[in-house]
């Protein structure tokens, strides 16, 4: 029963686009999806005929609860003018986008299709924060976890306490991730925050001063993040600035068979590795300082691609919470367990470091419209490998290999993809 672990034929990305991420009370899912589709369409260098799209995979986590809209795929297809094309919704909580892309890859690798549209969307901001907690908790185990009061941030907070107890990780280690990702996100005009923590902190100080109120004289970002009024606890040890925001947004990718990729662009990005695995709900796991499904999915992707963790030059990881980024770096094999926080402190994962992570700003700063997130991660790698990431473009001309890490809930669904510019 050994699996072959190879694609039947190669798959390349020739277009990638996203809507602006944020909170938009004048837009519903389909409006965001159209915006992302238009942006993707404009990104295909030599153009393409949308009639040639043979099917769509639409990723969305919970439009049922967020918008009272189920059966999203045909509605999205219709919205972008593809009404009669086969359209299939894919759901894997926060990993939905990565799973939809994997399904699209398989449709092409099997020979069934030559061109596939992948589109992800989530419209989250209609609900109050507590209702969003209810909805996100549905991605956990509602039989055994949710009835004990666990929220989604709460589950990641519990992972954080296990990591702290085993490795001596500190709350400041989590805060450093937020600072780094906001620094990157300040250079991403499509992101929700588009501001560094220093900018947010200075704006707050200025507002206080204008109102003639007493304001704390934050010297450095860490002073601000340690201020319980500015950065309140959500689920200890995680505070507001450890959590990705509630976001509306969409992202689209255009996938084609490798042999026709150059009809659309001279710079296709090839998907050379793909891995997916499932895991127990968090509370049943033997070790809570690592996510086994991520390790298994990563191993599958590395083997398919024939590359090692050290070869990867640019990475987007699923930092729904700052503690998640620490686990991701260790589970991907970038750093030994317990040592990733030191690498962050030394700037290794910063944009000018040796192992840049979340150049887009990550979920933390760019925003986390659940169903769109995985595709927006891929879009960042697509842009970076093609040298099109604008103000946040990584220095050095020879970027060749990138990776995306997506997890649903606390990793019960995990998917890893590796990309190559040839």
């Amino acid at each position: 029963m050994a699996k072959q672990g190879k694609l039947g034929r190669g798959v390349a990305i020739v277009g990638a686009g996203m809507s602006k991420f944020g909170a938009f009370n004048d837009k519903i899912s389909r409006d965001l999806f159209v915006e992302a589709f238009q942006d993707m369409k404009a990104s295909v260098d030599k153009g393409f005929d949308p009639n040639d799209i043979q099917c769509l995979y639409v990723s969305a986590f919970s439009p049922e609860l967020f918008e009272m809209q189920a059966h999203l795929a045909p509605i999205m297809a219709n919205a972008v003018g593809l009404v009669h094309k086969p359209a299939t919704r894919i759901e894997g909580a926060c990993a939905s986008g990565a799973l939809a892309m994997r399904q699209g890859m398989m449709a092409i690798a099997s020979g069934l299709c030559d061109m596939v549209l992948i589109g992800g969307v989530e419209k989250m901001s209609n609900l109050a924060t507590e209702q969003v907690q209810d909805t996100l908790a549905a991605a956990g185990d509602t039989a055994y976890e949710a009835p004990t009061g666990f929220t989604f941030p709460g589950l990641y907070a519990a992972l954080a306490t296990a990591h702290m107890a085993r490795y001596g990780t500190k709350v400041e280690d989590f805060m450093r991730i937020a600072i780094k990702n906001h620094n990157n996100g300040a250079l991403n005009p499509k992101g929700q925050f588009n501001q560094s923590i220093r900018q947010i902190m200075d704006a707050r100080k200025k507002k206080c001063a204008e109102k003639g109120q007493y304001c704390i004289d934050y010297k450095v970002e860490m002073d601000f993040l340690n201020d319980a009024a500015a950065n309140p606890v959500v689920a200890w040890p995680l505070r507001l600035f450890d959590c990705s925001p509630i976001t509306d947004g969409a992202a689209c990718l255009l996938l084609v068979a490798e042999e026709i990729a150059r009809d659309f662009t001279d710079k296709p990005i090839h998907i050379i590795g793909s891995g997916q695995a499932s895991d127990y709900p968090q509370h049943e796991r033997e070790d809570m300082t690592t996510i086994k499904a991520v390790r298994l999915a990563a191993q599958e992707a590395y083997e398919m691609a024939g590359v090692k963790p050290a070869d990867i030059q640019v990475t987007e990881v699923h930092d729904c919470f700052t503690s998640a980024e620490i686990l991701a770096m260790e589970d991907l094999g970038y750093f030994k367990p317990g040592t990733a926080v030191r690498a962050v402190e030394e700037g290794v994962t910063a944009r000018d470091g040796a192992k840049p992570i979340n150049t887009s700003g990550g979920l933390k700063s760019k925003g986390h419209p659940v169903g769109a997130t995985g595709l927006a991660q891929t879009m960042e790698i697509f842009k970076q490998l093609r040298g099109e990431a604008g103000g946040r473009q990584l220095p050095g001309k020879n970027l060749r290999l990138g990776l995306t890490h997506s997890v649903g809930a606390t990793g019960a669904t995990s998917a890893i993809h590796i990309y190559e510019r040839r």
Binding site: T148, P237, E286
Partner: protein, 139 residues
């Protein structure tokens, strides 16, 4: 009676209402499962039986939650009144999510992983229903 009770999460909660923490056990390999499973994933044995646990364990992970789901907010929890949820490793081995009682959720740094705990099944009121929930308290 236990032998004939189907291994389901509904029945786990029926036992919980009787203040009993029940796991399932594989008759072939002896493996113990909490939450209870109906199938042993090692030997695919489907003849599993209910067994009652000692109710003793230690804290494996926890959090003190300030931004709550709606139903916990309705019960009076929130920013000014956080609560502690955690994961317990039972003395018998398996882990499970639960509420942690007998700790100060306003002072999370006082709560230590590895703390010995014992089962303390409680109930909450929802409308006119009483719903049991699994909790452990500091032993």
């Amino acid at each position: 009676m236990e032998q004939k009770t189907l291994i389901t999460s509904t029945n786990f909660n029926v036992f919980l209402a009787q203040k009993r923490l029940m796991a399932s056990k594989c008759r072939k390999c002896g493996a113990l499962f909490l939450p209870p499973r109906a199938i042993c994933p090692t030997c695919w044995e489907s003849e599993l039986e209910w067994v009652e646990l000692s109710g003793k364990g230690k804290l494996a992970a926890f959090t003190c939650i300030s931004i709550t789901p709606t139903w916990m907010a309705a019960a009076g929890y929130g920013r000014n009144n956080p609560y502690c949820s955690g994961i317990i490793q039972t003395t018998e081995g398996p882990k499970i999510a639960c509420r942690i009682e007998g700790v100060d959720a306003r002072d999370p740094e006082s709560i230590k992983i590895g703390t010995l705990v014992e089962v303390d099944i409680r109930e909450r009121t929802q409308g006119d229903k009483k719903i049991p929930y699994l909790a452990f308290k500091v032993a």
